[in-house]
Amino acid sequence: MNTPNINPVESDCGGKAMKHTCEHHEECMKIIQLILDGEATEVEKDHFRNNIDICLPCIKSLELEKCIKDSLCNKIEKRPCPEKLVALIKEKITSSEE
């Protein structure tokens, strides 16, 4: 039976050490949000690529941020503008020209 790695800081991940704590997590969070927003610089993208496979807190944060962004975009009801309002606006701009 394999004994699970109980080191709270690092475990093995395909030859790489998986970090279980992130010493600069707040900065990583900012970069993760910039990546998801499509606003990261090349330096920030490099930092992301170099860390995301080996840092468990950052992997979890990436999943969470993605999930929240998707929920905001797709789950919240989008109401169509009432047709009577569209008609009223068109009527008012027409009468303003007369």
Binding site: E26, K30, D37, E63, L64, I68, S71, I76, C81, I89
Partner: protein, 195 residues
């Protein structure tokens, strides 16, 4: 916004054509933005109407081929601040400056606001619960999340809409998301989801 004489700009037919082609396709997004700012159907109705009438009146200041949606959102946001915010029916509104000052305080570093919340718990929430969490944010934080995550504006566009530097867009958005996570965590917990 400078008013340009009708004689110097488009003809009457051109104004209608630009209005219908460039502005009207965004009316659903505008209505949703107005509703999420005011959280009241009547106010949203009035705000959209005022915005579109202003947009038509100042149509000669709009440069065809530029971002009409961002231009309209900027007018709507300014109308909201100038005309609606004071009489907003939003309950228990928190003053933005107060919140931003608190979050900028050296005594409350960002790391203190890291929220422990699982993606699965958010996935379990329904749309109304996510909307309630968003609506519970102070309006200026709510606004940046709406513009970025729901409407898909870039930081540069948001900076122009809100009249703030891009750096402020970044920091306000980051703080808004931390606040939203706290609200989502609270909702998920109250629904009995495993957070």
């Amino acid at each position: 916004m400078p008013e340009t004489s009708k004689k110097e700009g488009h003809s009457s037919d051109q104004r209608y054509e630009v209005f219908n082609r460039e502005f009207m396709p965004h009316i659903d997004s505008m209505y949703n933005f107005a509703f999420r700012l005011t959280m009241d159907e009547d106010d949203a109705h009035d705000l959209v109407q005022d915005t579109y009438l202003k947009a038509f009146r100042f149509i000669n200041s709009f440069e065809v081929g530029t971002n009409a949606k961002a231009w309209l959102f900027r007018i709507l946001k300014n109308s909201f601040i100038n005309d609606y915010r004071k009489k907003s029916k939003e309950p228990s509104k928190v003053d933005y400056q107060e919140v931003e000052t608190t979050y900028n305080s050296e005594d409350t570093p960002d790391s203190a606001h890291t929220v422990d919340l699982r993606a699965d718990a958010v996935q379990d929430l329904i749309g109304d619960e996510v909307a309630n969490a968003l609506n519970a944010l102070p309006v200026d934080f709510r606004t940046v999340i709406i513009l970025c995550d729901i409407e898909g504006f870039t930081y540069e566009e948001m900076a122009k809409i809100l009249d703030i530097p891009i750096g402020t867009v970044r920091s306000r958005l980051h703080r808004a998301r931390n606040l939203l996570k706290e609200k989502l965590k609270s909702y998920a917990g109250s629904m009995g989801y495993d957070i």
